[in-house]
Symmetry: C2
Subunit: 410 residues, 2 copies
């Protein structure tokens, strides 16, 4: 296949987060799910008219009620949605039949207020597991939120979906193409139970491009593979998490095969920004670690090795302690279940060679240790066996992670 001239002229950051694209409105408020007064805990994201919709859901066998309900609605509506109703503070997971009823009720109330059908509303919840939603607070709040819908308040959405997140996460870009510009925006929340395979967090993406549902789903899946599914904080996979993508079409730019790479570019840029922000804000994280594995025979091999290194407690604690411990990196690679030649493997830490020809370069350790004292750490492993590479982002493992997770609920 000959290289086509890229339809993408430029991808530039823009303000507004998830509300940057045209054709959407939102409202965020305090419903009372969270005890603390005035803390935002309920959000409605609504398209002005029916939008194309795509979603990726947790791969955990144990799935929260909103995940089950949203998956059903997306199938019933054949990839169309009018709105997403989201709450923080309660995950509505492990809540049995009542959980399903409550999640359905949230979509029905939102739909009624908007003049849509329940199938056209998606729902997401995040927070404590095993606790029922306070529906007497939620139901009136939904009506209030829909009545308050307004454009341009993406930052409130980003704040309202936070649980133990340290900071809101949002990003938006304008994609300039030969046929005009469209916008992609998004927000996400993370913190704990972060691990690849879409089970990782809540993410809400919007675009004003005009996209058929099947194309939208393909683009979301493709962009998530190298962004949301390439991050890990602790290897744990949540019961609730999902990424939603709505396309309003309000820009008038229609995504066909020629413009598909432009859509993908926009989604990749926004998703990567959000994914990396989730890792940077990981529980107890003090460093963002970029693990880049190259020289692999297949992408799956590269991904396995990168992920095993990124999830190794010994590697993560060594990085926390600014120890360029190539031995732990090589040992983690060696147990990833991938065949490679250790004698041809090299390891760089912050661009400094620390392992080659099966032997350490300990004379470089002080320089590598200096790099590890920073907040952005690069681990590069070349397996020396092929032309495929993969990047995974993780964070260090700190005593603070233990403190947060040993004291979260009690």
């Amino acid at each position: 296949m000959a290289d086509a001239v890229s339809p993408v002229r430029d991808v530039t950051p823009t303000a507004g987060g998830v509300m940057a694209p045209a054709g959407f409105q939102s409202a965020a408020l305090h419903s009372g799910i969270k005890a603390a007064a005035d803390v935002l805990d309920l959000v409605v994201i609504a398209a002005d008219t029916i939008a194309s919709a795509a979603a990726l859901f947790t791969t955990n066998l144990v799935q929260a009620a909103p995940v089950i309900v949203s998956r059903n609605h997306l199938a019933a509506s054949e990839g169309r949605a009018r709105a997403i109703i989201v709450n923080s503070g309660c995950a509505n997971a492990c809540t049995g039949h009542r959980g399903i009823t409550d999640a359905e009720r949230m979509t029905a109330e939102t739909a009624a207020a908007l003049g849509a059908t329940p199938d056209q509303v998606l729902v997401a919840s995040t927070g404590v597991i095993g606790v029922n939603l306070k529906m007497e607070k939620v139901v009136p709040a939904i009506g209030t939120a829909v009545a308050a819908l307004t454009p341009g308040r993406g930052h409130d959405v980003a704040r309202a979906i936070m649980t133990t997140d340290l900071f809101p996460k949002e990003h938006a870009v304008t994609v300039h193409t030969a046929r005009g510009a469209f916008t992609v925006g998004g927000t996400a929340k993370g913190a704990g139970m972060i691990e690849p395979n879409m089970a990782t967090m809540l993410g809400f993406l919007t675009t004003d491009a005009q996209v058929a549902p099947a194309v939208l789903q393909r683009a979301l899946k493709e962009s998530a593979r190298d962004t949301f599914n390439a991050i890990t904080v602790d290897g744990d996979t949540s019961t609730n998490d999902c990424v939603f993508l709505l396309a309003s079409g309000a820009s008038g730019i229609s995504i066909d095969e020629e413009l598909y790479p432009a859509l993908l570019d926009g989604l990749l840029t926004v998703s990567r920004e959000l994914a990396v922000a989730i890792v940077r804000g990981g529980e107890g994280a003090t460093k963002l670690v970029t693990v880049h594995v190259r020289g692999a025979r297949t992408r799956d091999d590269a991904h396995r090795v990168a992920k095993t290194i990124a999830n190794s407690p010994l590697v993560k604690t060594a990085i926390h302690g600014a120890d360029p411990n190539w031995g732990r990196i090589v040992a983690a690679a060696g147990r990833a279940g991938v065949m490679f030649d250790v004698g041809r493997t090299t390891v760089h830490v912050g661009g400094v060679l620390v392992f080659e020809n099966g032997l350490p370069h300990d004379q470089n350790a002080p320089l590598a240790a200096e790099h590890l004292k920073g907040t952005d750490v690069a681990i590069d492993v070349d397996l020396g066996g092929g032309g495929t590479d993969c990047t995974v982002w993780t964070c260090d493992l700190s005593a603070e992670y233990v403190r947060i997770n040993g004291e979260y609920r009690t």
Copy 2:
């Protein structure tokens, strides 16, 4: 198959650790590999005459020199060995060709002093990776050790193989059978990089039963499956680790098919004791956690679920904080890659029901939290889908683990 009358009359603890069985001698001394004066760092375990030998080696792709050399020797000698030479303080891993030469030299020196062939000597090393052995210290020490061989000093062996271990680990039992008694003894070291699949630690087992090499290997593999390969501290798998088993035959009790269960009983008892001690002494561990999964369709299913729970940082930190967080336990089970019905799954913490029918029993949480304040914690998960079960032992994840591993080398 009809039940046979068990040939095992009784399995009783006995003193002496790895030197409890007849037909073995040992010597442990300070060679100078470890800097601190008078700290034991070199051991010879010798059989009085040539013994049957079996071994399990790390599954890590990256294998230390002593692992490569011992595997070759065991193959060349067709499962026979006269001695094992062990050092602590230096792992002789990632040391290239020189590492292999050094490990070969250790066996050759030991063999020469004993009047055996190098193939009849096995070698193991534990300690820092990527550093060469100080052979000028090791070689003379081997001669001194062989000259000092003596029976009954198992405790010195247990101490000499320690690295960051908090306490020595040893156990021995006498197995009384219808045809007489034999003894099984052992010692092990663990601490970090502890994870199933024989990649976990150094273990040395002895017996004075008379066993053909193939039977010995089968018994070691079978007993390790439910003991050494059923523990995890941090999910990391070392480059060095192995378990050796020597059978001297000095008891005169010959292991045939009828007595095989007796041998297995003895090995299981000693290995379980050592494996659990490794977990109890895991880096930063304050609690021993026994994860028992039942109601699985296959043993592999049960093992996957138990291991995923046992390695979950969120579960381990919750236990550390005495939080009966059934949500994290169920979520970990759900991402194990095993199909089961969450609605039929129950979770008990310390015998207290905390999850059933897809719902929590939060009224029991205070009672379960009380149990978690102890040092021995039981997590029982019934998947409700079959008759197979599996036990995995792990420890909690503490801030001390992070401290130890963030500061180990620097």
